[in-house]
């Protein structure tokens, strides 16, 4: 791969120095890009504290970014999670990856800590650090305005400055790198923002082949009702899932004590579309445009945010839901963790939070007056002597799919390397959305293998930096064709999944090095003891513990880890991970 395809910018924020380094071909071949390659930089230092100056903060694009490949404009941002201590990564959209590739870079690796707040500005070959100390306290929307005209912009808000453990990074105004507190990783380096503008062209070895692959991908996306249908992501945004989760009795309500929220039908995506006259927007080069913006530029919440700021908090005020999303985005906080932490708080104090109190608490958290809520639900609940009220896995709050309604999702939450995350395996795809075909959502049969395959495939997808939504239609078969066309190296779908397995296994190794084991691959006890909300036509019983434990056991066998959740040496050798640890230091 020529230099332009694999150039990494290393930024030492302590010294204020830069270095351009071309990756060795073997690193790109093994780790692809995006999440895989970012992990290669994190691995040698993964046991450092998240706020150590030597802890890297990595922004990494994938090989397809900047090309015509559909939905290929995702960027991985990775460090060690301040919230959970696990691998901390986010796939974020906008134009950041697109501009980075056009500026001739595949990634940026930050180390060190700036003496005062700073911003990194890249314009093609020009790189400079700017003083950002005057920007303290500004919200992300204000910053976006101040930095307009400088290309794609990633910024943190007041929440990161104030130590909120679930602080986010906002990219190009409405795209959040939300989970794991990655915004606080920026703050730990005194890095306030990153601006990137590029004008170059990303080289493509075989343009005709890429064009053919793109045609196949677009055809499959058009054929997918979930993506392009009248009720799909393009038309309604991710909020399209809201009605379905309610209909399936999977809508987490009252901090996961119930699974149906009666006002939901009046607060759904069509209601938001009507109330806010929404229009489509999205990432660079994307034909789906799943993000929705209302009149006056108001951000329309995504599905998780809609659900958590309504059902999870028993809040039937739609305007409050939209406002809560706006506050989180402006202050730079993850909406899932924020909503879930408030729900945990409501359960502990024993009363429902009125709309005004929800908004006031969010403002307080982001402005440094959180009273412990800024620590996330696990630490907050433990501090209040009610640890069971935190509905989280490995300290990361669960998103808006109640696992009692989808057993694959239950297993996937437990095994996710970044904690309670729906995206590592996303079994909702087949358990609810019937893609590629429907599976029995109330059964663990076969799910161990299915989850493992999906984790590996999604690790590959995050590494080529494609959007997972594309895969409600297309498959890695078509994307492998695109990767082959761009890089000029023959890659099959199964080659990508094999790389994904290596990437996922290495993430488990990093967590293992930080003390995570089988005891952490579990769900809150509530799901095994308490039923969801049953109706006359649908039962939602507690998760069967025995079935879950057996599925987890099978997963360990398939993944190549022992009953303690620790990597088998033979699997490490098979995947060549140890040798890679040494190589990673030289990246």
């Amino acid at each position: 791969m020529p230099a332009r395809d694999s150039m990494i910018l290393r930024v030492d924020l302590t010294a204020g120095s830069f270095e351009h380094r071309t990756l060795e071909q073997c690193a790109v071949d093994r780790w692809i890009g995006g999440r895989g390659l970012a992990g290669a930089f994190l691995y040698p230092r993964c046991t450092l504290s998240w706020d150590s100056p030597d802890m890297p903060l990595i922004l990494m694009a994938g090989p397809l970014a900047g090309t015509s490949a559909p939905t290929s404009g995702r960027m991985c941002i990775m460090s060690r999670s301040p919230l959970t201590g696990t691998v901390g990564d986010c796939s974020v959209g906008g134009a950041l990856a697109f501009q980075l590739r056009r500026a001739g870079l595949l990634g940026i690796v930050f180390t060190g800590r700036s003496r005062s707040a700073c911003g990194l500005e890249i314009e093609d070959g020009s790189v400079r650090l700017e003083d950002a100390s005057g920007l303290a306290g500004r919200d992300t929307r204000e910053l976006r305005g101040l930095l307009s005209g400088r290309g794609s912009v990633a910024v943190t808000g007041p929440a990161a400055e104030n130590g909120v453990l679930y602080a986010s990074v906002m990219v190009d105004d409405c795209h959040a790198a939300g989970r794991n507190g990655i915004g606080l990783a920026f703050a730990a380096k005194n890095l306030k923002y990153v601006c990137i503008r590029g004008s170059g062209k990303v080289p493509v070895r075989d343009p005709a082949r890429l064009s053919g692959a793109c045609e196949q991908i677009r055809r499959l996306m058009a054929a997918s009702p979930v993506i392009m249908g009248e009720f799909g992501l393009r038309s309604m945004g991710t909020g399209a899932l809201y009605d379905l989760m309610h209909a399936r009795g999977m809508m987490p309500t009252a901090n996961f004590r119930r699974t149906r929220f009666e006002p939901a039908p009046g607060m759904n995506a069509p209601a938001l579309k009507r109330l806010y006259s929404t229009r489509r927007t999205g990432c660079a080069g994307c034909g789906i445009l799943c993000r929705k913006v209302g009149a006056g530029g108001v951000h329309i919440p995504e599905f998780e945010t809609m659900s958590h700021f309504s059902a999870l908090l028993e809040n039937d005020d739609t305007a409050c839901v939209v406002k809560a999303n706006d506050i989180c985005n402006r202050l730079g906080m993850d909406t899932i963790s924020a909503g879930s932490t408030l729900a945990c708080h409501a359960e502990i104090i024993g009363r429902r939070l009125p709309a005004a109190e929800i908004l006031a608490l969010l403002e307080d958290i982001g402005r440094g007056r959180g009273g412990g809520l800024e620590l996330g639900s696990r630490r907050y609940a433990a501090g209040m002597g009610r640890p069971w009220a935190s509905i989280s896995v490995k300290g990361l709050e669960l998103p808006a799919y109640d696992p009692r309604g989808a057993y694959g999702m239950a297993l996937a939450y437990a095994t996710s390397t970044r904690g309670g995350c729906h995206l590592r395996a996303y079994p909702i795809s087949h358990e609810i959305l019937r893609r590629p075909v429907a599976t029995d959502r109330l059964s663990f049969s076969g799910k161990a293998r299915i989850i493992k395959i999906a984790e590996d495939a999604n690790a590959a997808i995050d590494s080529i930096s494609a959007c997972k939504f594309s895969f409600f239609g297309a498959t890695l078969e078509e994307y492998a064709e695109a990767v082959s066309a761009v890089g000029g190296i023959e890659v099959s779908a199964q080659d990508l999944i094999s790389a994904g397995e290596r990437i996922y296994f290495r993430e488990r190794l990093m967590n293992q090095a930080n003390g995570f084991g089988a005891g952490d691959d579990d769900l809150p006890a509530r799901f095994f003891r308490e039923a969801g909300t049953s109706t006359a036509w649908m039962e939602t019983p507690p998760l069967p513990r025995e079935g879950f434990v057996e599925a987890l056991r099978r997963y360990y066998v398939i993944r190549g880890i022992d009953e303690c959740g620790l990597a088998l040496p033979s699997k490490c050798i098979e995947l060549g991970i140890d040798a890679q640890a040494e190589a990673a230091d030289r990246l």
Binding site: Q216, R218, R219, L220, M221, A222, A223, S224, P225, V226, M228, G229, E230, F231, G232, M236, G239, A240, L241, Y242, D243, L244, A247, P265, N268, A269, P270, H430, I432, L433, R434, R435, P436, V437, A438, T439, S445, G446, A448, R449, I450, I453, A454, D456, A457, E477, E478, A480, S492, A493, Q494, D495, I497, S498, E501, R553, R554, V557, I558
Partner: protein, 395 residues
């Protein structure tokens, strides 16, 4: 897992795609489960080990598929390239291996969903369910059936059929069953309650499958009642519609239809202006074959017939329109409703037949049967192979 394996074993047999006892279906969780034990299992487990999948299927297709696939496998330099919608959208192409050798099968299956082993059978896989392996196997059989006849029609217009083509055609023709004169036993409409609608849709879907008017048991079906379109869910099997029908309010007040059929928009367009009625969509093979037969010499649109066609075509009196699955710029939802303004049926190039139902599904299924019967007769006439009887198929 075992239940699923046996279910799709049975479906392959019932659909006439494979003979009883010729099917091997393996499901993989932490260990492999087979539908039956066979000396080929260890070799297929070797293939499984080389892939990241959860199920594998190997079967010898029943006749006439086996002969058709064998013939096509010998012609294409390691690849079969059908041009029907199913292949264009999902299969892309069908690799051909030189033998039942694990490394070679693995090599092909790491890239594609299926591989043909000449003289032996077809191997396919799934990542979440053996159903995917079943669907791909069915698609390969369907695509090769269509390509075989399309190739024969092409040859008949030019140099004439080769010997193996003639032999295979004779075999295929001899295996065609009669199609019934009309749909029997379907509920009479109009339907006035949701329960009646759901039952009628399930019944019509099952009958469509029994008549082998779809491949992979797909196709879709809908019925409009009181401003709500009841429509089969995406990837649902027409013979298993209980619990797989979405109720979609046409006022757009809910998104529960996100799991509705890819052709939801086309169904809505076809039913626009109606109070009650439905749509039945199947993939009758001879209709698909004839929809792709066009004699226009030197046509400027050649090669892109599936997305645009410069002329208005009729096959056996039924309009044929271009259009791809779903709602994209070339989606059939743009072309189909207009084509059905003047009648109750239309064909989509290389894809299948859409038939509008009035108060119930008897008319729609009858229309589809009539279309298929006419297309089969026309096709066999062109090939000089008209059987003495009618034209059903148990192949």
């Amino acid at each position: 897992m075992k239940d699923l394996l046996l279910k799709y074993d049975d479906k392959l047999v019932r659909s006439g795609m494979a003979e009883p006892g010729s099917i091997l279906l393996g499901g993989l969780d932490d260990s492999v489960t087979w539908n039956r034990i066979d000396p080929l299992c260890p070799g297929l487990e070797e293939v499984l080990a080389g892939l990241s999948v959860n199920s594998i299927l190997f079967a010898r297709p029943a006749e006439p598929y086996f002969s058709m696939i064998s013939l096509l496998a010998g012609e294409g330099a390691g690849m079969i390239r059908p041009s029907d919608c199913e292949t264009r959208t999902f299969l892309h192409d069908i690799p051909v291996a030189s033998g039942m050798v694990a490394p070679e099968l693995i090599h092909s299956l790491r890239r594609r969903k299926s591989v043909v082993v000449p003289g032996r059978g077809v191997v396919t896989w799934g990542t979440v369910s053996p159903e995917q392996a079943f669907i791909t196997f069915s698609s390969v059989c369907f695509a090769c059936f269509v390509k075989f006849f399309s190739d024969c029609l092409e040859a008949a217009r030019g140099r004439g059929l080769a010997l193996r083509q003639r032999e295979t055609l004779a075999l295929a023709t001899s295996l065609l069953d009669d199609l019934p004169a009309g749909p029997q036993g379907l509920a009479q409409g109009p339907f006035t309650t949701e329960a009646e609608v759901r039952n009628a849709m399930a019944e019509a879907g099952l009958r469509t499958v029994e008549l082998r008017l779809v491949d992979s048991f797909f196709g879709n079906i809908s019925y409009l009642l009181d401003g709500i379109l009841y429509i089969s869910q995406t990837t649902s099997s027409l013979d298993e519609l209980a619990g797989a029908i979405d109720a979609c309010p046409l006022d757009g007040s809910a998104c529960t239809g996100i799991t509705a059929s890819s052709e939801y928009s086309a169904h809505v367009g076809i039913l626009r202006g109606m109070d009650r009625g439905g749509v039945l969509h199947g993939h009758p093979r001879f209709s698909v074959i004839m929809s792709m037969l066009c004699g226009r010499e030197g046509c400027s649109g050649r090669g892109s017939c599936h997305i645009r066609c410069p002329v208005e075509r009729l096959v056996e009196g039924i309009p044929v329109v271009p259009g791809e699955v779903g709602t994209g710029p070339y989606g059939l939802c743009n072309s189909l409703p207009r084509a059905m303004e003047g009648g109750d049926a239309a064909m989509v190039y290389g894809h299948g037949v859409f038939a509008r139902a009035g108060g119930d599904f008897r008319g729609a299924l009858g229309t589809m049967l009539d279309a298929e019967r006419a297309c089969r007769t026309a096709c066999l006439d062109l090939l000089g192979s008209s059987p003495s009887g009618g034209s059903g198929s148990r192949g």
